[in-house]
Symmetry: C2
Subunit: 109 residues, 2 copies
Amino acid sequence: MSNNRNNNPEQLAVMFKALSNPNRIRLFLRLVRCCRGGRRARTPQQACACVGELGESLNIAPSTVSHHMKELHHAGLVHMQRRGQNVDCWVDPKPLKQLARFLNKAATS
Amino acid sequence: MSNNRNNNPEQLAVMFKALSNPNRIRLFLRLVRCCRGGRRARTPQQACACVGELGESLNIAPSTVSHHMKELHHAGLVHMQRRGQNVDCWVDPKPLKQLARFLNKAATS
DNA sequence: TCTATAATTCGATATATGTCGAATAATCGC
DNA sequence: GCGATTATTCGACATATATCGAATTATAGA
């Protein structure tokens, strides 16, 4: 009721598109696993210094990883912020919950 | 726990991709509104005789609508079955709930 | 200031996608 | 069987996407 404006097809499509690629899902899952509750982790262990690290173990070129992260960022699903030489990434739970609500509604309507 | 195999990136990407286009979302929302609980509606009013009908009001060519419905179908999100000259479409709630679970988990991990 | 590390941007390229209209197929009523 | 209706398939085409490697930018440390 209050979030009808969020259910416009264009917005939804952008977010779903961000998750529509296997490699992007893998990167996203990495982030999910290393972040917590929508906040950047405080210890280096939990923080996500993304590109080189993730790209290496997933066999994707750094430039491609950067591109994918930008997609996730532009869709609003993850945040990015430079910290020294690295760029920290972390997941924003809000749009994810919104999508989950949308799907649950669709499933039970 | 029991549905770990369903969370593989390839599968997820296919389903998200099916929802990654505005027109496909619109068609999907139509289906959601005219169907109930994962079962085909019994009365003609509730059943979805899709292509011509939906295409007209959304300004999409019938062939394009057919293509989009096929995408949704191949992703497993909607069922299709011929009934006379029409092809009934209805939403399958299971994969939707699965996606919703995935997103909620990601949002609260 | 020079060097090393991390990330992004920039072309390039192959493949995928969305879309249309025309042609084809499936089905119904007569 | 014939004509009407509904849906799908078939080319065609323009645009978008995923990917790479090379060049560039940002930053930290010596």
